[in-house]
Symmetry: C2
Subunit: 391 residues, 2 copies
């Protein structure tokens, strides 16, 4: 039986795959860059007016003459006429300055008459109201590096330099197999001895939380051939998550079925509560996590281990890890790490009631999980403990 | 011209719509409950074994006799035979206890011979290893209330009580219109006077960040009839976001086009930088936000105002609002509220360089926006300022 730290290490050592995909910049929110991004052009691509006004050559102007308006340049238009002394163009925000112009006087600071302007702006200086070509990025300049987490602002930035497709680290493909003869899908009538299936719901939602959709969800009876069939069908994904049937009871077929499918066991059983029968194996590059069937154990193992495995694919850090003082005391048994549902205001952390692995009513109000170390038994208010946010 | 606080208040007062939709529980991650949830059944629906072992009636047992194994109950099965004195059943984790049984001894603590067991467990007490019927939820009990934010754990909890469909507050439907004669889509060649369009990219990503996809994105030239046509097509959504052409220049047609479409102006222009020409209007229940076209102004207005408007639909709080001390000093002009790109470690907040509204290269590294109040000019290191997280 592995310690929690050993299980964590073994999973990490076996997470050796990453995949890169080419994505439309439009769809790239929340991914991490797998390539450095180089500006395709100078941005702005030209000296650009920052205001509605009049553009002219500051050095050619004697600070008193009126300027003749020779033409008008709207944003998106372009004039190839070079201005000469005492000429100006009517210009709008975002428009390209004509050749030799370097300064814009805003429309509020001129007097217009007979197609000419006289400037009334004592503070006007050369270059005023002009965004210089390349002042945001130079053509070929590295603007964002590998590993950059793509925010809406970074996506807007990349698009603005002309790039429409980028390489990002892919999400892993993930399949789910839920096993259990006792399971009935919610919405249906329940018969004696049966319970409602909830693990596929919890896992789909937990993957959605990471912006991942599972590619397949299978609900399978506790029959070994059926489980073997489901595993064979799903073993091509990057990560296979199985729930239920992972203990050593007479009807627990998952571990034997995995073996018969050729999955190589890395470990089975961890000194933890909940989730002691937790299994981790690998076949080729596919990671297989088989979790005990109790709903709270499933989500606890997901947040404690599987999130980190997914992180090695996506290069994203999903949840904060903190050290916080306990708000209440707790007595646990020795030789098992306890992973408990908690609620924190980021100043201290409270161990919630109803921690049994079949209960979800406290988990529904938890915002973190708390790890109480293996050997220690008495935990007192104020003791610092490992906390992992889950929201 | 409105103050920032007035603009905020006017938007809030005009956000009067919410819609509720019925959703499969499976798809409900991240939504807020619009109805209280009542357990459809007792959960567990029966007294349930928590372990693999043997179930029997504790009070009928004299603490020394061997017990005859009468049958076996697998999870998902059910026995209607009532146990009599000195009888036990083989039982597995999750299975229903037979009538009159109330205690489970785990398989490790018995000696099995000739279809009977002798119990070797000094600490065994009545009710041990049994999860009582209804101990998680009683049929008809309110398990989650209106306003509950659905986490993976709450979804698992709801599914486990048999419910497959729930009412949640809907996301608003949102359309985007990006205007500008100068805009070329990224990936294409750019010609003189043109720039790459990035606002639709930034807005789509910002909506994705809130788990919303816009239902329509339109890129339109600076031609009034085209803008009128686009507005008419999109005015049926809950929120219409328009970028560009909202100032008072000769080619700014958005405000006049909105008026011609029947949109009622609530305000136009806010004493802020960036985003001074920010417009807000309403037609029937549709909220119209028209933003100046500079990319940084667009995302700043999105995070400062539109996120809060979306929040009134979904009842979700998207980003933390904090008060933090400045890490650097800053001098601004009076009579405008400055909304600046910042970076914070949650202890202090740094005002980033390159704050001009056409620049996205600092925004790409920001994790918050900082609000510097209207009248104050000098801000010193250590001064507390309003910070809104954007990541």
């Amino acid at each position: 039986m592995k310690k929690v730290s050993e299980a964590e290490k073994l999973i990490y050592e076996n997470c050796t795959t990453t995949k890169v995909k080419l994505l439309n910049v439009k769809d790239a929110y929340g991914y991490v860059l797998a390539e450095a991004i180089f500006s395709k052009i100078d941005t702005p691509p030209f000296d650009q007016s920052a205001m509605d006004g009049y553009a002219f050559s500051f050095s050619d102007w004697d600070k008193k003459s009126i300027l003749t308006i020779t033409s008008e340049i709207q944003a998106g238009s372009f004039s190839s006429n070079k201005l000469v002394q005492n000429e100006a163009v009517r210009i709008y925000t975002g428009a390209a300055l004509p050749l030799s112009a370097d300064t814009v006087v805003i429309q509020e600071n001129v007097i217009v008459s007979n197609n000419s302007i006289s400037i009334k702006d004592e503070q006007l200086i050369q270059g005023k109201n002009v965004r210089l070509k390349g002042s945001q990025s130079k053509k070929g300049e590295c603007i964002l590096d590998v590993g950059h987490l793509l925010s809406p602002a970074s996506i807007s930035f990349i698009a603005g330099t002309g790039i429409d497709k980028i390489k990002v680290f892919s999400n892993p493909t993930i399949s789910i197999i839920v096993t259990g003869k006792e399971l009935v899908q919610p919405g249906n009538e329940i018969t004696e001895g049966k319970i409602y299936e909830s693990n596929s719901f919890g896992l789909i939602a937990a993957l959605n939380q990471l912006n991942i959709s599972p590619i397949s969800v299978n609900i399978v009876d506790d029959i070994e051939v059926d489980i073997i069939h489901a595993i064979s069908k799903e073993i091509h994904t990057d990560i296979l998550i199985i729930t239920g049937g992972v203990s050593v009871g007479d009807y627990d077929f998952v571990v034997s079925a995995l073996e018969k499918c050729g999955v190589k066991k890395v470990f089975h059983k961890v000194k933890q509560k909940p989730g002691k029968p937790f299994y981790f194996g690998k076949m080729d590059t596919t990671l297989v996590f088989a979790l005990p069937g109790n709903p709270a154990a499933v989500l606890t193992c997901f947040y404690r281990y599987i999130v980190d495995a997914i992180s090695t694919f996506t290069k994203k850090k999903y949840f904060e890890a903190l050290n916080l003082p306990l708000a209440n005391s707790y007595i646990k048994k020795s030789s098992l790490t306890f992973i408990l549902k908690g609620k924190t205001d980021l100043k201290e952390v409270e161990i919630l009631e109803k921690q049994e692995s079949y209960l979800m009513n406290s988990f529904a109000f938890a915002n973190c999980i708390i790890e109480l170390e293996e050997e220690k038994i008495d935990f007192n208010k104020g003791d610092f403990v490992k906390v992992r946010m889950i929201i």
